[in-house]
């Protein structure tokens, strides 16, 4: 625990500078950061999904995840609303909104690869990175396992290997980053038999989505989920029903996660800079007060002492005077007595 003060100030400075730079960049560009220009995205057209779970199976294979408890062909699992786990990066759930009854709607769920990921902003070892290709990647060699990323993710995606004692990892969809870098499609996209998943540049994907809404206004509601949710994501969705009816939150807002904490981080340099000055000031004042009161006390004491001395002197003088008087009277009395006695003696002699 031998951290030097300089190092600490370095960190504090870094934290402060980080936020400052972020703000400056924003201010300079005068537009919001909307991700790497040529990054990829996937469009999930929910209206096309038939819930066959081919994507789940493909994801399991390409990521070499452990075999599932029930085979991917078993469609009864669709009835539960599942979330991603450490053994499944993606799940398909079935919804039956009243407005569409008796039709079922199937929705695929995986990491949305946010443009400004909450998980990355929350991680205190920078284990997550938004890659220029679009994927939010995870580095298990530095992860401490604090699970703050899981607290932070608004889509409830990252999962943890709680059952591992020595090398537990955070697990989530990689957007098949290694495959994409090799020029291959993500496993799930490639496996989808209905083209409910489309892979491409995010710019193009957004255009495709807009075109579909434009062409089939009856088929789609007029909203591309992920275009601006939490600052935008690399996984985009089209739907025929409001997203809140199919298990997707519509109350997340458009503020990117890092902005939620930038104010608190920005306060760090202020506290570090101002507090010591303020506290030293207060200290100086109390010291001064104490000094003044100590001085006053000293003065009061010396005055009291002086006073006491003077009054003691006075008493002394008085006492002396009194003693003088007493002495005089005593002498007088003694003389008188002696005289009396002498007179008496004389009288006695005469008699």
């Amino acid at each position: 625990m031998s951290l030097t003060r300089r190092r600490f100030l370095g960190w504090m400075g870094a934290a402060g500078a980080g936020t400052l730079v972020g703000r400056q960049a924003e201010a300079a560009a005068n537009v919001h950061f909307t991700g790497y220009p040529d990054s990829f995205a996937v469009l999930h057209d929910i209206t096309l999904c038939v819930g066959c779970r081919s994507c789940e199976a493909a994801c399991n294979t390409v990521n070499e995840l452990p075999p599932p408890n029930r085979p991917f062909k078993d469609l009864t699992v669709l009835d539960q609303h599942r979330r991603t786990t450490s053994k499944t990066y993606t799940v398909v759930n079935r919804f039956q909104p009243a407005s569409q009854a008796p039709k079922s709607i199937f929705v695929k769920k995986q990491c949305n690869h946010c443009l400004e990921p909450a998980c990355a902003s929350a991680c205190f070892v920078r284990a997550f990175k938004k890659s220029p290709e679009g994927a939010v990647t995870y580095d298990p060699t530095v992860c401490v396992g604090c699970r703050y990323c899981m607290v932070a993710c608004p889509f409830e995606i990252p999962a943890y290997e709680y059952e591992k004692a020595l090398d537990p990892k955070v697990m989530k969809c990689t957007m098949c980053h290694p495959r994409v870098k090799n020029g291959q499609l993500p496993g799930c996209v490639q496996a989808c038999p209905k083209e409910a998943l489309t892979f491409g540049k995010r710019k193009d994907i957004l255009n495709i989505a807009r075109e579909r809404i434009h062409k089939y206004p009856q088929r789609y509601i007029d909203h591309i989920y992920g275009e601006s949710e939490m600052g935008g994501t690399s996984w985009l969705y089209l739907s025929s029903v409001p997203f809140s009816q199919i298990g997707m939150r519509e109350d997340l807002g458009t503020t990117p996660a890092p902005e939620l904490t930038s104010g608190a981080l920005g306060a760090v340099p202020i506290v570090v800079g101002l507090w010591p000055v303020l506290l030293t000031g207060i200290y100086a004042i109390t010291q001064r007060k104490e000094k003044v009161s100590a001085e006053e006390q000293r003065l009061a004491v010396s005055q009291a002492v002086e006073h006491a001395r003077q009054s003691a002197e006075l008493d002394m003088v008085r006492a002396m005077e009194k003693a003088e008087k007493d002495k005089e009277t005593a002498i007088k009395q003694a003389v008188k007595k002696a005289m009396d006695e002498a007179v008496k003696a004389q009288q006695e002699v005469k008699a």
Binding site: V142, G145, R249, G253, V268
Partner: protein, 389 residues
């Protein structure tokens, strides 16, 4: 000789020691399970609920309740309230132990505890509030340790070294207040990133301010509470100054706590007003929130004030206990009860008994170390060879 030995064995076998022994034993077994079977073996943590009571209680409550150290040393050394001098050492000691135990507890919670230094030595995630918390807690633990060393040095008779540290008091105090301000508030700011998961009545952009202000309340109340307990159990260890100053400390701290609670209450109300969250107050969560705000903020504020007015030391002490419960309630509300309120109840978190046992185990270790130290080192009294600085 053998008589004496059996006597001391008998003396060691008090009911308290036996219960503590059993807790330690269970704790050690769970520790083994935790580090051989992983978190799943001993906890109810899930992917939806990544943080349980080890964060909600051990970290959040632990750090808040260990605030007595910085609050007291700031009061005495910076604000010049010298007459509370005798309260400093016990407060620093509990602060130091509190933080040390918080760090110890984190070793159970994080997946790979041996990597805890990574954020400092491998890669700094400076955008993370957890990084700020970690850096400040690590540094503050060091500060508290240095602040505490004079007691150890007096005990060991190291006069020269003691003088050097005592000279640093002022610097250490300021450094401690800065670090405490930062990490106490950052603990609240941790939740700023999850507005979609924390109930709006508890979520607020003021969370860092709330956490900082309530940590002052927690610190003051903890000093009062501890002094009550210490008077009960260790009064034979206290010197005349300590005993004579005790009532003074109680009244002064009680008054301060009442004032800060009033401020805290006000900013909480302002928070609701600004976010226009009034309508939530009529819901079930609203009732729970009002219980916290009225029962554990407004009420103790009043009780402290009455206690100070009537010079009723007993009332102040009871209020301190009540206030501490309120702080614990607040931290648990934010980390567990109002967190993930959007999830169906089947996916909500309830702690596993082994998680609770680990927390009890850690608190027990704290009490035992505290007892070991105060019965040996000059904490509750001034060492005859040294004058107060």
């Amino acid at each position: 000789m053998s008589d004496e030995k059996s006597l001391s064995v008998n003396k060691a076998l008090t009911p308290f020691n036996m219960v503590a022994g059993i807790i330690l034993l269970i704790g050690m077994v769970i520790t083994i399970l935790r580090f051989t079977g992983g978190l799943a073996a001993v906890s109810n943590l899930t992917d939806d609920n990544p943080w349980g009571i080890w964060i909600g209680f051990d970290l959040l409550c632990g750090v808040a309740l260990a605030a007595g150290g910085y609050v007291t040393s700031a009061a005495v050394y910076i604000f010049g309230l010298k007459r509370y001098h005798s309260a400093v050492r016990p407060a620093i000691l509990t602060g130091f132990l509190g933080y040390a135990l918080v760090v110890f507890a984190l070793h159970y919670d994080v997946g790979r505890p041996w990597r805890l230094p990574y954020p400092f030595i491998v890669q700094q995630g400076t955008t993370s509030l957890l990084f700020e918390v970690g850096a400040c807690v690590a540094l503050y633990l060091t500060v508290l340790f240095i602040e505490f060393t004079p007691a150890v040095m007096e005990w060991l008779g190291l006069k020269r070294a003691r003088t050097i540290v005592v000279r640093l008091t002022m610097l250490l105090t300021i450094f401690g207040v800065v670090l405490s301000t930062l990490h106490q508030s950052s603990l609240g700011a941790l939740y700023l990133i999850a507005p979609s998961k924390l109930h709006p009545l508890w979520y607020s952009t003021y969370l860092p301010v709330y956490f900082f202000v309530s940590s002052i309340i927690a610190g003051l109340s903890m000093v009062l509470f501890e002094s009550t307990l210490s008077h009960h159990y260790f009064s034979h260890k206290m010197d005349k100054t300590h005993l004579a100053e005790a009532d003074n400390v109680t009244l002064g701290f009680g008054k301060a706590a009442s004032l800060v609670l009033a401020g805290y209450f006000t900013i909480k109300i302002i928070g609701i007003a600004i976010a226009d969250n009034w309508h939530y107050l009529t819901t079930g969560y609203g009732a729970w929130f009002l219980l916290e705000l009225l029962g554990f903020v407004a009420l103790p504020c009043l009780m402290y004030a009455v206690g100070v007015r009537d010079r009723n030391v007993k009332l102040i002490r009871w209020t301190a206990g009540w206030t501490i419960l309120g702080i614990v309630l607040n931290r648990l509300n934010i980390s567990l009860i109002a967190f993930n309120w959007q999830l169906p109840s089947s996916q909500r978190y309830v702690p596993h008994w082994m998680e609770i046992m680990v927390s009890v185990f850690i608190v027990t270790i704290g009490i035992l170390i505290f007892r070991f130290i105060v019965t040996r080192m000059p904490i509750m009294y001034e060492h005859p060879d040294y004058h107060s600085h």
